[in-house]
């Protein structure tokens, strides 16, 4: 396992049929490999297809053609249940808008992926989630509902949630896009720390050249093509 890449894309194409005979191809044959523990930025102008690519990697969308290999496993889009299971097991998500669930406290939000994975909650999960929040510097906020937290704190909770199942790959779509510079730096630093300490690979969409420059690798997308990787 250690030698297989965490992500491999081969000739991935995606086109949208806008309900008209016209098909718009958004991704034109993407080839991309991400090694284990790699911390990569995905940059490109607006509309270049970054989110689309991330959604395909995140198994939220199916490519029109091409191969997606995740954690050494080739994805077959037609089996909904196994795709869902693979997604839960090998991926963590951080979105631009934190997307915490308002009905639950911070620590419950962090536990959620594990509860979903196991089908039940237990004390160990709670302890682990609390430990994770502690490392995010949010120990005293663990039992507050999301709306009681600042944007930066919410995003850190979301990062903890993405990490709680120890996925080999975390996908982050403009995770700092909504934060002030200080909060953005904090959030970024936390992701970097987890990447270093636990060898979690990150694929991080960002518009911030400052943050991109601090990544191991920068992948640039232009009009649906990888122009530099």
């Amino acid at each position: 396992m250690a030698d297989t890449p965490v992500l491999r894309l081969a000739q991935v194409r995606k086109s949208y049929n806008l309900g008209t005979p016209i098909e718009v191809e958004v991704l034109h044959g993407i080839d991309l490999t991400l090694a284990r523990g790699e911390f990569a930025a995905l940059i490109g102008p607006s509309g270049s297809g970054k989110s689309t690519l991330l959604n395909i990697v995140g198994l939220l969308e199916r490519p029109t053609s091409g191969v997606v290999e995740l954690d050494g496993q080739t994805v077959h889009g037609d089996d909904e249940a196994s795709v869902t299971a693979l997604r839960g097991r090998s991926l963590g998500f951080v979105f631009q808008f934190h997307h915490l669930i308002p009905a639950f406290t911070a620590v419950e939000n962090v536990m959620m992926p594990r509860i979903i994975g196991a089908g039940r909650a237990d004390a160990a999960m709670r302890a682990e989630a609390l430990a994770l929040l502690e490392r995010m510097g949010l120990r005293e906020h663990a039992h507050k509902p999301p709306r009681a937290l600042s944007g930066g704190q919410q995003q850190r909770v979301a990062i903890a949630r993405a990490l709680v199942r120890r996925p080999p790959l975390v996908l982050a779509d403009e995770p700092t896009g909504n934060l002030d510079t200080k909060s953005a730096d904090e959030a970024f630093a936390l992701m970097r720390e987890f990447n270093r300490n636990q060898a979690v690979a990150f694929l991080l969409v960002t518009h911030d050249p400052r943050l991109a420059s601090r990544c191991d690798r920068v992948i640039e997308l232009l009009d649906g093509r990888v122009v530099s990787a």
Binding site: L60, E61, E80, T84, A85, I116
Partner: protein, 399 residues
């Protein structure tokens, strides 16, 4: 857990719809109990003093006789004739008793007569019965206001109104004269009140032997009363009895066809109302959950991205429906019981006795609750499917 939290989060909506479901369930239970109570009170009132099945001798009905020429039909009237007895009635009793569903059989010698005291004379119906057997048909003991219902020798049990009309008290003597011009002096040993003035005035119970003599039946009986265990199977049992004995048997359902029609109308109305209640409850739950699915589409998308299967999402919303249904059923059952209690307390006969008691049975409450639960889940099915089929990308994109 997720379902519960979602419900808690939408507290206002949850409370409102819960109130709606509870009210629906309460009304449904109350109404059913009310109608059941009303029906059984009507049935008790009508059938309390009536056998479920009565066997009579074959009547000579009005017949039409065709003349040999076939030209004209001549109607032959039933002749006024003396009382007829049921043939072979002694042999029939064990046959009838062997019919499944029959719980009591009581032969009776009955006919018209006059009750005479001094100058006063009243037309009465003489009912000659075997005490023990008849008590199993009509619970006369419940209706006795004085004395006992036990008939031996020349004992007689008469109704309250006849006693008043003739100025009779317990122990008083009374002359009975039959249409056959036989007469006998009897002693009043009991006075009853069956709640119907007409019967209180007309019924005179005496021992069957005495009645046979007075009515010139010579060991015969004029009818056989039968009680069955299931009221609404009386008709079927009557037919079975006819089949086995070859004699005529008439059920209360035939003699009270109108009552029966009224009862089934009530039942229908009841069903209709309850059907509407179910519909309203279902629409309420569905609408609340549809709104909830729209509001929560982003969270649903997140849950899916975190590895929640479609089925899990489906379950969350179905569970919400079930919780709403179950809670509503529970509260509604309590409400229904309270309504039924209040009804029994508020609506009374002029004399202060309970008009009738709504019948709240375990089956009724459990059945209604089960329906509410099922409706909750079913009503949740549409929004739940919608939630499950949400495209997570769509849901997440619109931050």
């Amino acid at each position: 857990m997720v379902a519960l939290r979602f419900l808690r989060e939408g507290r206002m909506q949850t409370a409102l719809i819960l109130a709606g479901i509870s009210a629906g369930v309460a009304v449904s239970i109350f109404l059913a109990a009310l109608i059941a109570g009303l029906q059984s009170s009507i049935i008790v009132r009508t059938l309390g003093t009536q056998a479920h099945v009565v066997m009579r001798p074959p009547e000579e009905r009005t017949r039409t006789v065709l003349e040999p020429s076939g030209a004209a039909a001549r109607t032959v009237q039933t002749r006024a004739q003396r009382l007829r007895s049921i043939d072979q009635w002694q042999a029939m009793i064990p046959l009838i008793e062997a019919v499944p569903g029959v719980v009591a059989v009581s032969p009776m010698a009955s006919g018209p007569a006059f009750a005479v005291r001094g100058d006063a004379s009243k037309s009465v119906a003489l009912l000659g019965v075997d005490t023990a057997r008849f008590l199993r048909i009509v619970r006369m003991a419940d209706y006795m206001v004085q004395g006992r219902f036990a008939l031996q020798g020349t004992d007689a049990v008469i109704g309250l109104d006849l006693a008043k009309d003739l100025g009779l008290a317990l122990g008083d003597k009374l002359r009975i004269r039959s249409a056959e011009d036989r007469d006998e002096v009897v002693t009043v040993t009991g006075i009853f009140d069956v709640g119907a003035r007409d019967l209180n005035r007309r019924w005179v119970f005496i021992a069957i032997k005495l009645a046979q003599n007075l009515l010139d039946l010579a060991g015969g009986v004029s009818n056989i009363d039968i009680r069955v265990d299931r009221l609404f199977e009386a008709e079927a049992i009557a037919r079975r009895i006819e089949g086995r004995t070859g004699a005529l048997a008439e059920s209360w359902m035939q003699t009270n066809a109108q009552l029966l029609a009224a009862l089934s109308n009530q039942t229908l109305t009841n069903r209709l109302i309850r059907g509407f209640v179910v519909l309203i409850v279902a629409l309420g739950i569905a609408s609340v959950l549809v709104v909830s699915v729209v509001q929560k589409s982003r969270e649903i998308g997140i849950l899916r991205a975190m590895g929640a299967s479609r089925r899990a999402i489906l379950g969350v919303f179905l569970l919400q429906g079930a919780i709403l249904g179950a809670l509503g059923a529970g509260l509604g059952a309590l409400g229904g019981l309270a309504l039924a209690r209040a009804f029994a307390r508020v609506f009374r006969n002029p004399d202060g006795t309970v008009l009738f008691r709504p019948e709240v049975t375990v089956e009724l409450v459990a059945g209604t609750a089960a329906v509410a639960l099922a409706v909750g889940v079913l009503a949740a099915a549409i929004p739940a499917r919608r939630a499950a089929s949400l495209d997570p990308v769509e849901a997440i994109r619109h931050g």
